[in-house]
Symmetry: D3
Subunit: 135 residues, 6 copies
């Protein structure tokens, strides 16, 4: 049976939901307040889950100190106190919905963590809205 | 790989656990304080998870504004500030345990949400007691 | 300088807001959904704060085990899994608003705790609605 | 003895800390990441406390439904999903620190709530950083 | 479709991470501050999930009062206010990482709960570090 | 009117409540499980509140980055992952109750923060037990 370890982190970003190929009316109908032109923001809470086997020598599935460093490098440095639309290459054209942010973070972490570990993410955009990827 | 979106909601209801086919002694033994005749109540917290694919145009799995409206119509209007045993058709004879409440809510939401989306619910009856359905 | 100790507890009760001297229309206008006749309910979270001096022998302001027992006897046994309107003498005629519940609990605890300690209560009716007494 | 009622609300805004009269180096030294030019954002959680007397007829200090409406009009409509620096008159020149946001909200609410009620605010900018005004 | 019930509990323990077969330098490199010789401690929060079928007579998957008693006997009495390394047979030689604590608790609960129920655990060591077993 | 800023931090420590001048029976009666000889532990959550005036130039009462550094130096480095009884000079003879820990932290912070700022602390030993000093 596998075991999972989970590490929580937070970052504070501005964003705006917008699809340049939609009309202004469509953008407003689909994205509502989230489409307002000057951006709004969130305290994003991220949970990174790694699923693997417990190393009998250490009792660890994965060193959470190392996982924290990877999250700091790949997520916090990239997105914290940034405007996702303006300041990041990842969301220059990709709409920064919580779903897409989770996929982008997954791909960044997947490239850093050995494939023996399954990765699952949970991202809270607000206390009431969250996403999980993959699911 | 699939993605999930989760929307949280709350409702405050009175209820009593009771099975009319049990003896009074059985009801008391099985349901304890929850069997007291004049009802008690809870702040129920509901998490509705929809599992699907990210729409590449919107970046959404499902519009959470629409999901909120469906939850408001099917759950909040039906159960909030109600006595589940006395005020609702669903629990006129069905025992309003957290498990049964989750199943009832699932069926109500299942009827409103396209079958392409898998639905999973988590219902908190208290901070220490929760149920998940389906699981 | 004084020090405070705080103990948290929870109870689950049904209640209904109603003033028999109001017309039906007034009751509905003032109390809204909370006036529905068959009761609804809440997970009430109570914080009891005692303000006093640190006993240099024990390092305690007040033994929190004893405070827990007093809360259990005066609050949990009295109100948990009860219908405040129907099952309690305190709210037989007094409207069980969060404000009044806090005052009633204060008076019950005040009678049990030495006057050297100032008592302050915080009562959460929901995550978004709370009261403090005295203030 | 007075009683307090507290109502919690949330709004999601973008902001940037900056003082146009400071040099660029000073702005960066004092405001750090919060000075980045393209804005970042937060889920602000606001607690509005009104201190007054319990009305013996209603058992209320203040109708929390009315307080919710006032908060919606004065705070949520004004600041939710907005860029505080660009979209609001209040922070066109005033630096939108949590302290200043609390003072601005206080003044807006003070103008709407009878002077018999003392108002106190708590504003969470993140889970770890909060302000209280007045204090 | 199966249904899950979840019961939350807490225990406060001291522990130290250490592998006697590692050199001192290795212990320090791998376990860092957690290796300090005089122990530190945590408020562990445990969620026990039982997956099964709803009994149509009771509306329960499992009586949460009975589950609470089993958790009290197997977990709280065994580990609460204890030094995991010094006071428990389970961690006399097994390193008390959150992963290993979860496995030990699983085995203790598995021996008490009918095999018809699948058991899953989540253990919070801190607000930011958690494990799940089995996963 | 004054304004407060609050910064939250956490540390994980082992401790044991004991008064060497008490008999063994007294120690056990007064401190209960907390008197067990091999220590237990907690995730302590600390809230440091500074009360002062908003600087009109910065919009800050106090730079929370500086406050974080002071908390790190005076509290986290001193107590995190430590055994309070064995590893710290402050609690070599002083009983490490939450009350005494709060007073010790207050004195350490008071020595670092200008007297123009009033300091108030809240310390959570568990989710249900907290202290405030001064009060």
């Amino acid at each position: 049976m596998k075991t999972a370890v989970i590490r929580k982190a937070q970052f504070n970003s501005a964003h705006r939901l917008h699809n340049a190929s939609f009309s202004e009316a469509e953008n407003q109908r689909i994205f509502g307040l989230c489409n307002l032109p000057n951006y709004h923001g969130h305290n994003y809470t991220l949970e990174v889950k790694l699923i693997g086997d417990i190393d009998p020598q250490t009792g660890f599935v994965y060193d959470l100190g190392i996982l924290k460093d990877i999250i700091d490098e790949e997520v916090i440095e990239a997105f914290d106190h940034k405007n996702l639309n303006l300041d990041t290459a990842e969301f220059a054209t990709l709409n920064p919905t919580a779903e897409n942010i989770a996929v982008v973070i997954y791909n960044k972490l997947r490239a850093r963590i050995e494939s023996a570990y399954e990765i699952k993410l949970k991202l809270y955009e607000t206390e009431r809205n969250m996403v999980e990827y993959p699911c």
